[in-house]
Symmetry: C2
Subunit: 459 residues, 2 copies
């Protein structure tokens, strides 16, 4: 990716807004416990995609006539002292192919002139509060009203572009996955009874940090895999536990990866664990085998759900017709989340742009428990990169709720679930590229089958 | 620290605002690249100090009559499913000694009633943009004006309380330092030519994360120690380099630590490096030996500066009377920053509360280069915990600026500085408790002398 990449992306984007201007803002630093103690900087993903410069407080303005201006901060005479030799605004403009530059403090005036000439300013939804103040200052409006002025035209154009990954972007994601593969091999080798979740989370992060990469999201490293939103690391691993690890490192150009593996702390699955593991693996394999531009992701989700229901009927935990069980939503007791989501510059790619990323206009999320959490339902297209991440969990609170309500008892064998108290949960996740006629799992070298896992965990 | 600790702190604080109410807000989650992908949560330090609950989106309201209400979010029926068993609002109220609780969404109404009764609402300065929206909603005002309404009375009362550390707080800081000591021993052992800064930063972070602790701030791990604001890890260590490491882990109750060590990548100081190192160590030892309630921190800074000037005159890099050189500010070419800052719940403790933390009313920062960066000038008091962190740096850009301007050439031997091109910088930092009659360096086990460092680096 060089300056021509970014120029071409912007040129394509400008076609969407006839006569309008496009404003894309960089992120600001994010204060932690006071203004100057900040979190590690994360650039806005849209700014990365269209400008590619990893610096705070910048802005890109694309004018109707084709003129492009990159705004950045003024250099202070002391900068060289405190920050050492560093790229300045003109360097950033060269790297990203901007002919024009301006000081960030002049942006509001430039935008004001455009507005006075009747030019519409298109901007994307803010997801940080700081951005609302910035937009309000630039647009001379109230920060409480800027969300109402976001450009639906721009949102759709960005989604259309960012959804289809180029070879260079796929190479970035595979670069992220190479680091993630190393991290998984290390964490698997380090897993054994007596270790803490925190120690293992630290192993995972050490590998990414040693490559100078951030995590794409806060990793899950937990023996309580059935707690889906779990980012604490308070437990000690015990013989018999399953460890669920859901994590991913960024690439050098800040593309995400997102992998989940679940494996036995002891290094060997119990037969109960293996039975459930093989069902989850079959769910994932079925979805991957079916993935192609012929299918919607809603269909893949349904296929994974059906595979789960069949497997659980075979095991005696469900009963009746698997198709009917899935239709009714009974499988969601065990598989309560969606099959996956878009992946790219963000781990949930473009989630800041709203539901149009995953749902076509006129389509919307199901209200059925489980399916309601499916982030991507659209027809797949060549160039989509998606996660395929089915799971089966035994969530005590959910089982109790459903059993008490006698919910779906024609499909669920509640009396057989006592034996799974404390089982936890299993999820398996890979990042998958949709190709012209099928799909390809990205990355390699992360153990996944029972035999592969048993040969590396604790060794 | 139990619920009585927090009750007593709040009782003391309430004395400051006769007839007023006090509003202390918890932090919200901080979005990274979209709303749901958040940075690791960091609670507001004032909320930690007065409430001690590490959960987002809460609020504490202290009423004039002595009533205290803790506000938190409503439990959703699905919470147990997604988050597993967890503490709820009533648990948090017990842990922090609140008799009353309320739903967070009712807070604005309660405050509105208070305002209608003429009760003044005292609140602290916001440092995150999100907080401005929250305050505006609670106070029914414009988010752009909330900064103007912060309570100076409350700021002063909080500074008075938080400045004096109790034994329990000192134990927390020493708990943080125990993890930090382990991290320094590991990073020193792992240092050798060919390693990258990123690999060593990863070692440092691994140790903290393995103890389930966050870093108090983004660590500096750099062979370019003369670049003061440097948190990139792009260099590879070479024979002859000095590595400067400035970092600290949090304690279990989120108190900070802040330590700097500088050591040779090869494991052995060159004679040139040792000469400068011994001057910096002498600067630090002089300041620590002089630290007591008899002194202002401005005096300690001056003592460190004088020690630097004397040492550099002895080395032939400066000339003339050291006192006169310091008076003129010539030493700041080599020691361009302040001696240190308050340490506590924040690494720059209470920096969100402004300059009154470090400067008495009527006093203000010097405009002299170097001294202008001194964060703490006040008279020291028993119970203060401060950092003492002198340094000597050879900043090529700064030396060029001054030489070209012929600045302080009566004190600086510019022609001798060519031999220090590429030297880098040395800083040594410890966390120091002011006692009734002197000072005590907190923590232990972090090598500091030349002999100690040479016996551990690379081994």
């Amino acid at each position: 990716m060089n300056f021509q990449t970014y120029q071409a992306r912007r040129q394509e984007l400008r076609k969407a807004v006839h006569g309008g201007a496009i404003l894309i803002l960089a992120n600001a630093e994010a204060p932690k416990n006071y203004a100057d103690n900040v979190y590690p900087f994360r650039q806005d993903s849209n700014f990365l995609y269209y400008v590619g410069v990893n610096e705070a407080d910048m802005a890109a303005l694309l004018l109707p006539g084709g003129e492009e201006i990159l705004f950045g901060r003024e250099e202070h005479p002391d900068d060289l002292v405190w920050h050492g030799p560093h790229a300045v605004l003109s360097d950033h403009a060269s790297a990203s192919g901007f002919a024009g530059t301006g000081l960030r403090k002049t942006l509001a005036g430039v935008v004001s002139d455009l507005c006075a000439r009747g030019v519409e300013i298109h901007y994307l939804p803010p997801y940080r509060a700081e951005r609302r103040f910035e937009l309000a200052e630039i647009l001379e409006t109230d920060p409480r009203t800027v969300d109402g002025g976001v450009s639906q035209i721009l949102i759709k154009a960005v989604i259309a572009q960012r959804s289809i990954k180029t070879d260079a972007e796929i190479a970035e994601i595979e670069g992220a996955l190479a680091v993630t593969a190393e991290a998984y091999r290390e964490i698997m080798a380090a897993t054994r009874p007596g270790r803490t979740e925190a120690e293992l989370a630290a192993v995972l992060q050490r590998v990414a940090l040693a490559h100078d990469r951030q995590q794409s999201f806060n990793p899950i490293v937990s023996v309580r895999g059935e707690v889906l939103h779990n980012t604490s690391y308070a437990n000690t691993l015990a013989e018999g536990d399953l460890l669920l690890v859901d994590s991913g490192a960024d690439s050098a150009r800040w593309y995400a990866s997102d992998i989940t593996r679940t494996f036995p702390v002891s290094g060997t699955f119990t037969s109960q664990q293996r039975d459930i593991y093989e069902i989850v693996l079959a769910m994932q394999e079925a979805a991957i085998a079916a993935a192609s531009p012929e299918k919607t992701n809603r269909e893949l989700h349904g296929l994974a759900a059906l595979t789960a229901a069949r497997g659980l009927v075979d095991l005696g935990l469900m009963q009746g017709d698997p198709h009917a069980a899935v239709e009714a939503g009974a499988h969601a007791l065990f598989f309560p989340h969606g099959l996956g989501h878009m992946l790219g510059q963000d781990v949930h790619d473009m989630e800041d742009l709203g539901d149009l990323v995953g749902y076509d206009e006129g389509d919307s999320r199901s209200e059925q428990f489980g399916l309601a959490f499916l982030r991507l339902a659209k027809k797949l297209q060549p160039g989509f990169v998606i996660t395929i991440e089915p799971g089966i969990y035994f969530v005590p609170a959910l089982i109790d709720q459903w059993r008490t309500a006698d919910r779906h008892s024609e499909f669920i064998c509640y009396d057989r679930l006592h034996a799974y108290q404390g089982f936890g949960g299993i999820r398996i996740e890979d990042d998958v590229l949709i190709t012209a006629d099928g799909a390809r799992v990205l990355g390699s070298g992360i153990p996944k089958t029972v035999a592969e896992l048993e040969s590396v965990v604790g060794r």
